[in-house]
């Protein structure tokens, strides 16, 4: 169905007429991939009363914006969205489709992948274009390399989807860099006919509650993060104290979150938030590849760990081999008396 020279497409998520940041980041990445492949970048936008958003998507790099504007699409629901997006994909034959790895993207993308019988790679930390030689010697030109840490640690897998189109991937917020919008860019808005069936509308939203994010890791200049080595939820107050003194946010590794020391919104890493602060202080974090994937582009990394062989030290600029319970109070005193 989809041709090898089809466009690159990004599913754009929006809430109340505001595009999700991850979707804008993916447009920037999508632009790069489309230029590399010499094809157009399409945005697929669904919602109700959202046509005004198209200009912004064009400013972030879209050539064509497919807009499905319909009252039944006001809030995300699996089947109406899957119906419309799959239809746009069938009609426009993209070679690549990217989705944010949000609750919406992770609900929608696999449904569509199954319907279109194509591949999908979750939580990619890098996307590139390159050739692939199959075990039988067949050479595939210009495939999407879908790169992700896999399997608990220390390995990075490159996944390809040689024989099926589109090649689809989800990417977490913050992984791709958000470029500057170019308001002078011109693009095309393509209205999408929305033809929903009764069976698409059986799920009813009774109530919806969203809270403003209380943790702003992405915007933080300084992040003090704790891992399993912090030991307990109570002991995390040391992390909070240091963050407060330095005017930073509190981050955490997945194992600290899994152990219930701190809530998920603080999680940094492949399945959490990707951050690039000026200073990242990793306390009691061993530094599994998934965690490193989410923070290794920090300008300066300080690692505090009792284990001198912890992998975190290999990406840190400053290492303190010691007990965080002793070292953190020292850092607080040192900063206060600067």
């Amino acid at each position: 169905m989809a041709s090898a020279d089809g466009p690159v497409a990004v599913f754009v998520e929006q809430d109340g007429g505001k595009a999700a940041e991850v979707s804008l980041e993916l447009l920037c990445k999508g632009r790069e991939l489309a230029d590399r492949l010499g094809v157009k970048l399409h945005a697929i936008l669904l919602g109700s009363g959202i046509s005004g958003l198209a200009d912004e998507l064009i400013a972030y790099g879209a050539d064509d914006v497919h807009v499905a504007d319909h009252p039944e699409l006001r809030y995300y629901r699996t089947r109406p969205y899957a119906r419309v997006v799959a239809e746009v994909i069938r009609r426009t034959s993209p070679q690549i489709v990217l989705y944010g790895a949000t609750h919406v993207g992770r609900d929608l993308a696999p449904r569509i992948a199954s319907e279109l019988r194509t591949g999908l790679t979750a939580d990619c930390t890098d996307l590139r274009v390159g050739d692939h030689t199959a075990p039988d010697g067949t050479v595939f030109k210009d495939l999407l390399y879908q790169i992700r840490p896999a399997f608990g640690g220390n390995i990075i897998a490159t996944i390809v989807c040689p024989g099926h189109r589109p090649q689809m991937a989800t990417v977490r917020e913050g992984v791709m860099r958000l470029g500057e919008p170019d308001r002078a860019r011109r693009g095309r808005v393509v209205p999408v006919d929305v033809a929903l069936k009764q069976e698409d509308l059986l799920v009813e939203i009774l109530r919806r509650e969203r809270k403003e994010k209380t943790v702003n890791l992405k915007g933080a200049r300084v992040i003090v993060a704790g891992g399993a080595g912090v030991g307990s939820a109570e002991n995390f107050r040391l992390i909070f104290q240091l963050a407060e003194v330095l005017g930073g946010e509190v981050g955490a590794s997945r194992s600290a979150v899994d152990r219930g020391f701190i809530s998920k919104e603080h999680q940094v890493g492949q399945t959490g938030t990707t951050v690039r602060p000026k200073l990242y202080i990793a306390c009691g974090i061993s530094g599994a590849v998934q965690h490193r994937a989410g923070m290794q582009e920090s300008a300066k990394i300080v690692a505090i760990n009792t284990d001198p062989d912890a992998p975190i030290f290999s990406i840190a600029h400053y290492g303190i081999v010691g007990d965080l319970n002793e070292v953190i109070p020292m850092l607080i005193r040192a900063y206060k008396s600067k």
Binding site: H103, A113, S114, E115, G153, C161, R207, V302, E326, Y335
Partner: protein
């Protein structure tokens, strides 16, 4: 009336205890080198199914797809309260990606036929993809509700649940049948019951018996070819069945799965390569864990305008 629930579970390597040797050259996982566990969030899915049955009546069937050793999670499901368990196993299923897996599972569900609710864990800890649930729902043509946190109401063919959305929660109502993927925070899975453990610990399946027989023959220095193993294993399986302890095993034929759509053949995604992460490092400055060391570090960070 009651509800017929099917729980899809996975035996996963305990990713918290992984070493580089766990990966084969071709990029697939050498599961034998790792401790295998019941995927944690699948326990939450099982628990929700058991709660539904306990409150409304009905049945809880558990299916797992995997090698014969995955029978272990089926026994665990029995210990915790499942009514019936099925092992979906076939060499041709090996190397399935999420699409091929969801196809095989959907074939097994179709073979069972009637169901009201399918439950899966939100995601498995080996891949963290969260894809097999939605893909299975699509293959079966039923609605899906992912990230389920709470069952609010179950009445006739109406179900209401609370699910996580980005930055919040929403309450959804839909008609059965439906597929739910359940979060780890949804409930606290019950432990295995001692009584059920005693009742079900000898439950086993033919492929497991075959493995055991072949090991026994080898240990005795005897030939363990297929034709040597088969008659002994079958005799034992007959005895296990007589005692009501034989776990149902389905292969690709049993569930009428098209061989072209399972395993590597049915998987659009391929692992191109696997790299061990080589850490750059080397420009690490070691700071003494002392008051003086910390003062020097803070001074340097301020000097470089990293800290204000």
């Amino acid at each position: 009336m009651g509800y017929d629930c099917i729980v899809l579970v996975k035996q996963v390597p305990d990713t918290k205890n992984i070493t580089g040797q766990a990966m084969r050259e071709d990029g697939t996982v050498n599961r034998a080198a790792l401790p295998a566990i019941f995927n944690p969030e699948d326990l939450n899915a099982l628990e929700l199914a058991l709660q539904i049955r306990d409150a409304h009546g009905g049945t809880v069937k558990v299916i797992t797809m995997g090698p014969p050793s995955a029978c272990e999670v089926l026994r665990e499901a029995l210990y915790r309260g499942a009514d019936d368990v099925i092992l979906l196993t076939d060499r041709r299923f090996a190397a399935s990606d999420t699409l091929a897996t969801s196809y095989a599972l959907s074939c097994a569900v179709r073979k069972i036929g009637r169901f009201d609710i399918i439950l899966c864990g939100r995601q498995a800890i080996d891949g963290d993809t969260a894809q097999v649930g939605p893909q299975t729902a699509e293959k079966l043509g039923v609605d899906q509700i992912t990230y389920v946190e709470r069952l609010l109401r179950l009445d006739g063919d109406i179900i209401e649940v609370e699910r996580g959305i980005d930055g919040g929660v929403e309450r959804l109502r839909c008609r059965l049948p439906v597929l739910l993927t359940v979060c780890g925070t949804a409930n606290l899975p019950r432990p295995p019951s001692a009584k059920r453990l005693l009742a079900y610990r000898f439950h086993t399946c033919l492929p497991e018996i075959e493995n055991r027989v072949s090991q026994e023959l080898a240990a005795q220095g005897r030939s363990a070819r297929r034709e040597d193993v088969a008659p002994i294993a079958q005799a034992r399986a007959a005895e296990v069945q007589r005692l009501g302890r034989l776990i149902t095993v389905w292969d690709a034929e049993a569930v009428a799965a098209d061989p072209a759509l399972v395993g590597g053949n049915g998987s659009p995604t391929k692992v191109k390569n696997i790299e061990s992460v080589v850490l750059a490092g080397s420009d690490l400055v070691l700071v003494e864990p002392t008051e003086e060391g910390c003062r020097k570090l803070i001074r340097e960070l301020i000097h470089e305008h990293i800290l204000g």
